[in-house]
Symmetry: C2
Subunit: 351 residues, 2 copies
DNA sequence: TGGTTACATGGAAGCGCTTCCGAACGCAAG
DNA sequence: CTTGCGTTCGGAAGCGCTTCCATGTAACCA
């Protein structure tokens, strides 16, 4: 087996790397002025700024991040914190990572992945203290875990993706759930569904509670009595969705509103296994709009989370906070109801 | 609840951060000596080193990464490069990210996510030149794309996850595919399967070709003539697996070896839709062992990639390369055949 | 015209760390 | 008692950047 000696220690350097000094010299100004010109600080005449910028570009100048960081105390790197498993287990996590990565890139911020295992708050806090990152975006999936609370207490600039009413002091970007689920129930009703069931998420999570409340509210609005045996608990996983549905079917629901897509997929599997047809025997809806729903059959009616919008908002808020600007603590984003085959009965009223 | 548990070690924003100077002063040595002591460089007596280390710990000293980086030219952060979509679309990508993140943490390296969109080689190269990261792990998924080739040419310390025979000059960690697929075919034969089909991946990828070759080799070994109409092309996606299978079933295969799990899941859907039973009418096997297979029914026989091992190897190799050590260019890791319901016929010989 | 304000500019002081290099020391050999 | 060598140590020079501050210049009003 052939070896290669790692002479790579000099990694970055094939060319000698242009420094700010050079840019300044070529531009005929001081390093201080050049710095100001390039960073949009004022104290530089416009023509000088333009000249410096032009020189920088033509020289292919790229500021050394480490130096910048050391001098300014800012890294232009943000962290994304989420439970280690989530990424692998739920497509929601993957969608989130991707969207946050894109948003970060758009804002010219690096993205460091901080997968939280057992006692991550310490690791994250350390990472920040070490000067590696400026702040973090924390996935809602983690909300409720003790380490998240610790992290929030740790004085680290943070934006939460997901609602966390227990911590109104922390910036959060949340997805409207209550009215959205109401909307879904109304849609199902319009399809002629009469016994609409709901598999909710773990109720210590606010999103789960919102969805359940919305489900109830819709029944109230429709003037229907809700059969409580049609409301059961899931845990956002496919497997549980499947198991719970097996039992739930005994209650003869003609529609099942799942709290998320993974659950919905489990529901569909269980329904089909029971020999019932979707949507005619049982309509099914989800929540999230992850890639998983694109490949399921029949296509799943779901509330599409605007991942890009959410993450863009989270990242831009964080950037704003880091810049010292005021940012609303709570920002709400609305999902889109994507009606597909799993809830479209031939006899139903189209919305 | 209480994060600020006493020691100055914990609070991040409040206390002024312990510097090397302080550690040195308290230890009664120069900053130079302290640096050497803490970094394991020699030129320090053992007792001094011990003392300094002890002081550093008791003070809760954490070196400022930016300063370290600026002075040393090393960042202790590595990048993970993969196509932007892959993370969202294929659980393989998610598994990989998670495993790499864990491996990086184990090696005390930060992990920066570099999701490649259109023209990322430039972005990645820039990121490195800016001094943000030392090297990259590149997902095989991207192999073949032009930007990868550019990246590989860019003198960036790189380890590829996946085989890339076209670039024997680049470090790569690959999963053995050829013999593994042979193994699968033999297993299917032992279950009484006689018309074994294969849906391979895009043949510009080496893993796809390896698997196809292994498939053929197994038939040779079994002394069987392979009906070429049983070999069809997929693209590693679920949807295509489904579409291709619909047609493939006309050839009356009694087993389908899919090139990866996503394809296999598509296959299973198509087979069930055709009213055939798995495994008795058609046995199905996959390749990867992502989380997706855990929730599919019937459980899928698959070759489990040792994600942790692969990524550990990739990261430790990269770290080694960065340290200037020699590392084998090609390292091969073996998957495990996990036999499950999708290929276990009641009449078959158990392995 | 003088006196003020307003702004543009460059010198220089760091940011916290690594590392080169010469000083100091100890010790064996000559 | 010297010489020479190996080792341990501290001084100091940066790494490339930001930013404070003193200086210089032009523009303004009275």
């Amino acid at each position: 087996m052939d070896l290669v000696s790692g002479d790579a220690a000099t990694s970055s350097a094939n060319s000698p790397a242009v420094t700010l000094d050079e840019v300044a010299r070529v531009s005929g100004v001081s390093r201080a002025a050049a710095s100001r010109a390039l960073n949009g600080r004022d104290g530089v005449r416009d023509d000088v700024r333009l000249r410096v910028r032009h020189v920088a570009e033509s020289l292919g100048y790229r500021p050394n991040r480490a130096a910048k960081n050391l001098a300014s105390g800012r890294t232009s790197v943000i962290g994304l914190v989420m439970p280690s498993d989530e990424l692998r287990v739920d497509p929601y996590g993957a969608s989130l990572v991707q969207a946050v990565a894109n948003a970060a890139e758009r804002h010219d911020e690096g993205l460091m992945l901080l997968l939280a295992q057992n006692e991550p708050s310490r690791a994250v806090a350390d990472t920040i203290r070490d000067g590696l990152i400026d702040g973090v975006v924390v996935s809602a999936i983690a909300i409720g875990a003790r380490w998240v609370e610790e992290l929030l207490d740790a004085q680290v600039p943070t934006v939460l993706i997901g609602a966390h009413p227990g911590r109104p002091d922390v910036h959060q970007v949340e997805v409207e759930s209550h009215d959205s689920i109401m909307h879904v129930v109304h849609h199902l009703a319009s399809q002629g569904c009469e016994r609409i069931a709901h598999i909710h998420g773990p109720l210590h999570r606010d999103d789960a509670r919102q969805r359940l409340d919305g489900f109830r509210a819709a029944h109230l609005q429709l003037g229907r009595d809700l059969d409580e045996s049609l409301v059961v608990e899931g845990d956002y996983t496919r497997r549980t969705g499947q198991q719970v549905t097996a039992r739930l079917l005994e209650q003869r629901p003609d529609a099942i509103v799942a709290a998320n897509d993974e659950t919905a997929i489990g529901v569909m599997q269980a329904v089909e296994r029971a020999g019932l047809s979707i949507p005619d025997d049982v309509a099914v809806t989800g929540f999230d709009g992850t890639a998983a729903v694109e490949v399921i059959e029949p296509t799943l009616t779901t509330l599409m989370q605007p991942f890009d919008e959410i993450c863009e908002l989270a990242v831009s808020s964080l950037v704003s906070i880091l810049a010292g600007n005021a940012v609303p603590l709570r920002q709400v984003v609305h999902p889109t109801l994507a009606i597909a085959a799993s809830s479209s009965r031939t006899g139903g009223t189209s919305p």
